[in-house]
């Protein structure tokens, strides 16, 4: 099949994130940055979100602390 004309480029990659070395050692699962509140300290929570067939290991979320 012909996928048609090219439309655009999409870059798929996790956004860089600033975490402490200690947090980096704790978090082995991929972490994606969320927008932190002004003055809020990023906090990594090891809370599986709706673990399902495509999420067997759960994912660590980073939320404003």
């Amino acid at each position: 099949m012909d996928i048609g004309n090219q439309q655009r480029v999409i870059i798929v990659e996790p956004e860089d994130i600033d975490i402490t070395e200690e947090e980096a050692q704790l978090d082995e699962a991929p972490i994606f940055k969320t927008t932190a509140l002004p003055g809020a300290r990023p906090l990594s929570l090891h809370v599986p979100v709706e673990a399902g067939p495509t999420d067997p290991a759960g994912m660590a979320l980073q939320l404003p602390g």
């Binding site: 099949m1 439309q7 999409i10």
Partner: protein, 267 residues
């Protein structure tokens, strides 16, 4: 240390000159003063040269400092221009960014030794694209047209049905339909995508009278490594029902994957 020696020597020299002047007043021209006067001339010449060099060194230091400032300003200007240029290119080409993979669908022809894509056999669920036309190993899949309108990359379709129709799956024999996650650089087309790296995250495959539907990574890997293992799967329904089941299963896996990523994105 050199400066100290020089300074001490100069003080002593000054004292000796004053003493010599006293002795000349006292006894007239001292012995050896002609040679000393010649040397004094050489000293005066070098003192002037030293002062000129020191002045030039100061000017050079000032020029170095000014040039460093100019360089820093030019660097800042180039940074500004590059950011503008890159952001303009991103806007003009409507470039997108996503932390989540782009999902699409692929068909393979199933044989005992491998699952065959349009161009290459797959023996594992992952594939990293190369430019088969040899147009360079960077920025794959190429998006500047150097390797044709439909260039390099791992191809996936946006929708299942056009894929099944386009490949004539109804008459193709043993096939596998997969849900594929594309990562890295992904080029979007009207009806599909070309990706830099692809990973199959769900598959529905038939081999003979058996089929295997799975989203388990280990089972998917086994399907690609040992396609004959599909024969130990569940019995297949008739062909028409089978294609419906395959499509429904993969579509459901796609819906779950999209739902899950939406849930995580909302926190």
């Amino acid at each position: 240390m050199e400066a100290g020696k020089h300074s001490g020597g100069s003080e002593r020299l000054g004292r000796l000159r004053r003493t010599a002047a006293v002795y000349q007043e006292r006894y007239g021209l001292l012995p050896g003063m002609d040679a000393i006067m010649g040397t004094e001339g050489a000293i005066a010449t070098r003192r002037r040269r030293l002062e000129r060099l020191q002045r030039e060194a100061g000017e050079i230091q000032a020029a170095i400092a000014a040039t460093e400032v100019e360089l820093a300003r030019l660097d800042e200007w180039v940074v500004f221009c590059l950011v503008e240029s890159i952001e303009r290119a991103q806007r003009e080409h409507a470039e997108g960014w996503s932390p989540r993979p782009v999902l699409g669908f692929r068909i393979w022809r199933v044989a005992d030794e491998a699952l065959y894509g349009v161009r290459l056999p797959w023996t594992q669920p992952g594939m990293t694209a190369t430019c088969l036309k040899g147009k360079g190993d960077t920025e794959i899949p190429h998006s500047d047209g150097r390797c044709g309108r439909l260039g390099c990359g791992v191809y996936v379709a946006k929708e299942i049905d056009p894929l099944l129709v386009g490949f004539g799956v109804a008459e193709l024999g043993d096939v596998a339909l997969g849900l594929v996650a594309l990562r890295g650089k992904v080029v979007e087309h009207e009806h599909g995508y070309r990706g830099a790296t692809a990973e199959v995250i769900a598959i529905a495959a038939t081999r003979g009278a058996r089929c295997r539907f799975t989203a388990d990574p280990a089972e998917i890997a086994r399907v690609f490594a040992e396609p004959a293992s599909i024969k130990s799967g569940q019995p297949c329904p008739d062909r028409a029902q089978l294609l419906d089941d395959i499509s429904s299963y993969i579509a459901e896996q796609a819906r779950k994957a999209a739902q899950w990523t939406l849930e995580t994105s909302s926190g």
